[in-house]
Assembly symmetry: C2
Homo-oligomer: 192 residues x 2
Amino acid sequence: MRKNTKDEIIRTTAKLIQEKGYVGTGLKEIIEQSGAPRGSIYYHFPDGKEQIALEAVKWTREAVRSFIQEELSKHEDALIAIQSFILDSADRFEKNRYFVGVPIAALILETSSTNDNLRKSCEGAFETWSLEFMKKLQENGYKESIAKKLGTIINTMIQGALVAALASKHAESLRTTAGILPLIFSQQSLQK
Amino acid sequence: MRKNTKDEIIRTTAKLIQEKGYVGTGLKEIIEQSGAPRGSIYYHFPDGKEQIALEAVKWTREAVRSFIQEELSKHEDALIAIQSFILDSADRFEKNRYFVGVPIAALILETSSTNDNLRKSCEGAFETWSLEFMKKLQENGYKESIAKKLGTIINTMIQGALVAALASKHAESLRTTAGILPLIFSQQSLQK
DNA sequence: GTCTATATTCGGATAGAC
DNA sequence: GTCTATCCGAATATAGAC
């Protein structure tokens, strides 16, 4: 029935970190919401809370990566593909508040100056996602250096838009971000 | 005697929230680092931690607002003024890690789904800062609706760049953001 | 693999003296 | 305005039975 207790703990932790942050998420709550056996936490994660968070980051990184990949494959054109990825994300944000990818930003702001392990793993997630945008751009003929820069910018803009969306409780900032992408592409594309 | 005991608590809290987040910041640490008398916390802030955080947000909002205003007044041209504001911020980020304005994003991600008072005050801070950019743009002849939209976008991009900067521990994302502003302005300005 | 019980530390908050 | 003492709950983590 349950695929795996361990996976369920990881997934629940990713969700809870998004809602309440890293410090604000208690092991007690992880156990309750995941339905995991109370005594199994330190069996699966001997290093405790940090280890769970690191695996939650890894899980989030891959979940978002494959989601980006899937969405981008729906359109040939990189600009249109990335735009519709962002617009889809906006819809998701409004439907249920759970949006994978946010917990990474939360972790960074909480731990960037106190826990270098977590900070580095979050940095890696950002790089992974930027790379997906970059690959799509290269498929469209952008040369490597431009594609890399644009990929990073896009990821950064999305993160900012997500923070703004959480602050205002609506996804307009994401839609606006999608809307200004053509302006950035139009000039950069001259350097293809 | 020290009229600034209260102010010192507020300022210290703003700094600590940036470093460790809202939940991660303890009253004990606030007292220690601010040098405030131990027994004075609940005298000055009868509503406890949340009240201190709310005042820290207000303080940060105004500190950043006047900093933006001051920086933008150094150049006539809105694009150049905003660009140099962002570049100055990048320098500050690298010199000492303390950068006012970040604690707001930290608070949003931690409390957006658990504490509506704090969320709203953070939203207000974003609006205040966006308004400063908007005013500068209007002085440059942008019509209100365009200026407002651009002001919001700029604030959003800066927030995203800050998250990326904290993740990577360098300010390149801020400089890149300054670099792509002309692309956004160049087209939007047609609608002056 | 899972459970219970517990150790230990720490959080925010209150009461009352001065 | 400030201090000390203290409460209460919650946090992470460990030990050892089953």
